[in-house]
Each structure stands twice: as C-alpha cells, then as structure tokens.
Symmetry: C2
C-alpha cells in the first residue's frame, strides 16, 4: 500500500479537492478527501497523447525496442502515461512493419505507456497533405485495410472524400479502430455525412482541413457546428492563443483533446530533421518543410497543458478532461483518466506552476524531477 498525501486531487468528474490517495496493486485503492486547503502538489490523471510522431530523435517510422523504451521514459517526464506512436503516410509494408513491431513490444511487457498505433494517412487528400509525403497518399481499399489493421491500430486519420472511405468504415468498426477526419478538403456536407456515419472526431483541428466560409462552412464549420470531438495542437504556433480560447468557449472542455503532433526534433535543439522522407528545419522550436509548411510540432505535453491553461484560464478539472479523460473516453481506454477508487494508478504530480514533479504508471514511480 502506497500513500500519495496532501495533494490537490483533480478528478475530471468529481472536481478538485485536497486529500490523500491510497494505491495498491497498481490501482487506486481509495481517495480520501481532507478538510483542508493546504497542499503541496496537484495530482491529475496521467496525460494521454493520441497523436505523436516522435521526440528526442525517436520516430515512429524507424523504431527499435530501445528507441521506444527511451521514448516512453522521456514522456514520463512530461506526465504522459499513455500514447499512440503515430505513423505518416507510408507504403503498406512499412505500416505493417511498424504496427507489428509495436504490437509485439506491447505484448512483451507487463505494462507500458504505449497503447497502440495511430495511422495518420495514407488515405488522405493530397490537397491538404501538410507535411505528408505526396508519393504515399492513396485511395483506401477494403483489401489493403484488412491487411494493415490489427488490434494494435487504435486510431486512423482519413479524409472522408478519398475513394473507398465508406467501404472501409465497416472493417475499421469491426476492428474497433476509431476513425478521425483529417488532412481533408471535404466541404460541410461531406463532413456531416461522415459524422452521420458515426465518425465524430477531427485530427489536429483546424490544421489541414477546409476553412470556414459563410456559404460553405467547410471542415472548420463542421467542427464548430456539429458535435465533433477535436484534437488540438496547443503550441502557440499552429494556433493563435485567442483561437484556442475561442474554440474552448465554443466547444467546451468536453470536446477537446490536447495532442502534441510532435516529431523527432521535440526535446532536441533546433536543426535539420526528417519526417517520412521529407526535409524538416526546426528554428526556434518551429518545424517547417522547405516551402514553409508546418511539419508537425516540437511541442512537449507538459508545455501543452501549461499553454492551454494560460490561453483559456480553464479550471484544473477541465484541464484533466482535455489532457486525458476525453482521450480515454474517445478511444474507450478502460480504467484510466480518473483519480477514483478502482482506476489504474496512472497519476501525474505537478507543482503549482504545473511542472511535472512525479509520474506514476500502474502505481510505480516512473519519473521523479530533481
């Protein structure tokens, strides 16, 4: 039995209160409120990043087991206790290789923060490719989808206007792979059609989707008007701070999932990098292709939550929603993202400036700041 004491407990449902948490067997044994306002650290459910291509030199497309272990470890320092290594548009063989590798990695371990794979592409619209490699982008076919998916593929970003989109939906649903709309030039009607087919998620909103117009609402209008859940890259570069605040006010904290969309350069110095075969330059933390297109981010999760809090002045309870609870609910990840009896003891302790102090995974300390 382990006690995490004198903390401000931030549960996305019950809210914020001072108390102690007792941990046993990797789970939260009990949560004991205290009649006090005094606490040293803030305890939130461990963060979840459903969209990250890499960091500190690691990249989903070229991983060894050692790399992935290093990646996990680095993310503990960011408070992340679950994440999806995310691919870029690639050949079928490369998608299969990566997903098999991650599947084995997960099954070989008693516990890990690697939850599965996110395929970002290749079934997207070349007109909204962003930093995806044009040569790899293609239509979706039931045949190929059956080959590349497996239980480890938890999420796939697709454009609803690509050929074969509706054909493969059933297969993806059977596999319990969540579909997210992204890198799409679809107009409002096409976005709504996908929504009516049960696809209620948008990848890095509103980057690489069709803008708002008052006579054709586009993907941005669909995201605002319909009940989509949306990823957001809150690095202060992809989106203006006031844009983030506006979306928070319009959609509410229940519909937003913070992601990093980070690339291998995240956590490293400025310089030259590579993303899915494309040359990337990082300057002042901003990653771009030679033509200036943003190429993922160098955002770290701890910074993402600080930015969101700063830009929106949201409550800590809302911060718990956008940093873990919504993502867990979105992907139906069980028993996490609450600080509540019976849930997995994936917990991050933060100081009052929201710096990560300690991270617990299954009740074990996996990170401790100096």
């Amino acid at each position: 039995m382990k006690k995490i004491g004198n903390i401000l407990i931030v549960d996305p449902i019950k809210g914020e209160f001072v108390g102690n948490v007792l941990v046993d067997g990797g789970r939260i044994e009990s949560v004991i409120p205290k009649n006090s306002d005094v606490y040293k650290y803030i305890a939130m459910p461990g963060f979840i990043d459903l969209h990250t291509h890499g960091c500190i030199g690691k990249d989903t497309m070229r991983l060894s087991a050692e790399d992935l272990e290093g990646w996990e470890k680095f993310l503990y320092s960011q408070g992340v206790t679950a994440f999806l290594p995310t691919t870029v548009s690639a050949k079928k063989e490369d998608m299969l290789r990566v997903s098999k590798f991650v599947d084995e990695y997960v099954h070989e371990r008693a516990y890990t923060s690697v939850y599965g794979i996110h395929y970002e592409g290749p079934y997207i619209n070349i007109e909204k490719k962003g930093a995806q490699n044009s040569d790899m982008i293609r239509a979706a076919t039931t045949e190929e989808i059956r080959e590349v998916i497996s239980s480890v593929v938890k999420l796939i970003t697709m454009a609803p206007e690509v050929e074969g989109f509706y054909d493969v939906l059933t297969v993806l649903k059977e596999n319990k792979t969540v579909v997210s709309l992204g890198h799409t030039n679809a107009g409002f009607k096409d976005m709504r059609r996908a929504f009516l087919y049960g696809v209620n998620r948008i990848t890095h909103f509103p980057n690489a989707i069709k803008g708002l117009h008052h006579r054709e609402l586009g993907g941005v209008g669909a995201g605002l008007y319909l009940d989509f859940e949306i990823e957001m890259i809150v690095d202060g570069i992809h989106l203006a701070p006031e844009f983030v605040d506006m979306i928070y006010r319009i959609k509410g904290a229940d519909k937003i999932m913070l992601i990093t969309d980070s690339i291998d350069a995240a956590g490293l110095e400025d310089g030259k990098y590579n993303l899915g075969g494309l040359d990337v330059t990082v300057k002042n933390g901003k990653a771009t292709l030679p033509d200036g297109t943003l190429a993922g981010s160098t955002l770290l999760f701890n910074k993402a939550i600080k930015n969101f809090k700063k830009f929106t002045n949201c409550s800590l309870r809302e911060l718990a929603k956008v940093s873990s609870y919504n993502a867990a609910r979105n992907l139906a990840i069980e028993d996490v993202a609450r600080i509540e009896e019976g849930y997995k003891a994936n917990i991050v302790l933060l100081d009052k400036e929201l710096n990560v102090i300690r991270t617990y995974l299954n009740g074990e300390t996996v990170y401790e700041s100096n």
Copy 2:
C-alpha cells in the same frame, strides 16, 4: 382606449403568454395576462431594420417625400415600425442632401417609422468594397465628418483600418452616432483595438469582413470571440442556413440584429437595377454585380424573421430580440421593442405561420392584410 385581445404576447424580456393589450394615446396602457392557451394571433414588438437601401423601386440615394412615404407604407406590410434608410458610399454633397432630406421628413411628421439615417461608407476599405462604388471610397477626416453628421445620422459603417478612423470617433460619439465595423479587411488586432475603443458592432456579419484563420482570426474571429453585436442578412443567400444557426448557437440571440440590406429591387420582379451607380442584376431574388459580387439583397423583413426561426428553431421571445429589441437597445431607441406598459404601441400581429396580419404604429393600424 383600444383592446388587442386573445393574442400570444411575445415580450423579449417577460417571454410568451396569452393575454390582452390595452392601448391608449399611442402607448401600451396595460398588458393583461390570461389563464389560457388559446389565441389567434401572435403579437410582437414592431420590427426594426437598421440597414436597408430601399425597396419597391425606392432608393435612399434618390428619394422624394412621396417615395419615402411609399417605402414606410410598404414596410408596414412587413411588420417594420422603425427603419434607417441607408446610403452607399457617395460624395459629401449627396450624403448631406440625403440626410437633410430625411431630417426634414422626420420633423414634418407627428410620427413616422423613419428613425434616421445609416451611412454605409464611404470610409471603408476598398479591398472589401462589396457592391460599394470604388470611386467614392475615401479616408475619414474630422472636417468632413463634422459636415456630414447631424442628429439624424444614427449609425455609420466604417472600416477601422481607414485613415482617420480614430480621429473621427470622438466627433461621432459626441453626436451619438453609433459606429459599426464593416467593409473591412482589418485583422483580429485591429478589430479588437476598435472594440476596446467602444465600437462593439459589426455590419452584415460576416459579409465583407476578413475571414477566420486559426493564426489570424480576422474580423470573423473577432466577431465570434469578442462581445460584438452583429447584423445578419438572413435571406438564405448571403449566409448558409447552418451558418446562421451556428452563429445563433455561438453568439446567442442577444447579440444578433436581423437586417435586410435590401435594395430598390426588393418587393419587385427580377430584372436590371442600379445601386449607387453600379449595375445590378436580380435573378431568382439574388442581386449581383456583373462580376457576381452580391449587391445587397431583395430580402423583406417578414421573410427574414421566418428564415431565422426556421434555420435556428429559436423561441418567439428570441425572435423578438433579433427582430427589434436588440436593435432598439443598440441605438438607444427609447420606449419601443417591448410589449409592456408605458411602451409605444408599435406592435405587429402575426398568424401562426408568422405572416404579418396587422401592424400598429403609435397605436394606429397602419397595415391590415386581406
């Protein structure tokens, strides 16, 4: 004493209830609720249109007293009991001529639905001129503003980035002329600056303003994010129905003012018309310049309220806000836009399909349908 009985009274503040209204001396003497659900007609405060260039062949820029009387009379059939004839960008002499004419017209009458003048331009951005004549668009100067304004000028649409904008604000404020931002290419910061200077109104949002982008929110983002009150042309042409509904959900009924922006062709057949010296073609009710630019509307106010109700499914109480109450509050028009003791008896009776059945101005019946 006149009794308007067995009606569903729709007051923007007190809400909807069945009852009788007693009218005396041009004012509402009393409002008597009845314990009943049975009513024949709906009674709402008379509608207010703060932005109309003309209708049935009348045009603000070329008016005779007979024309303006005809215009008033036609608008009674639309339930409108107050409106601002609206200019287009024009020479100083023409602005003066129109405003003097309207001033005299108003002062010669015991009561009229003409409330004053709305100057739309000429101090706007040529890049967002819409159907305004480029040759007339110019910078604002204190000297010229002092000449063209008077107590009859209730509203002026200006672009905050035009030279002289901030110079003339003080003069306009002294004159109690409300400033509205429009025909502007201003970015978010410039819109916010104007807002901080007390200019909290946007003309025919989001037509002829800078679009939303996630790194530069533009005029559209400013309108959504900041507490602006906005005009909207709800003809189903200028704005997609779902856009109107989205704005209603984001901004709420308290911040929206329905306007027609109608031109002389409104209420007439399709054909060739003229707006401020520009050729306009009306086809299926859609008014355009030769290059396809929308040139005002042929919308009638009764249709505007039906559309808004249909697009948003708002309550009748909210409909009273967007059709009169907000406009009255925005321009500080006294004693109107309520169905409440002491207010002017400017009332429109509608059937359950929202067709105008009867219009009262100062307690007198000024329109009655067959």
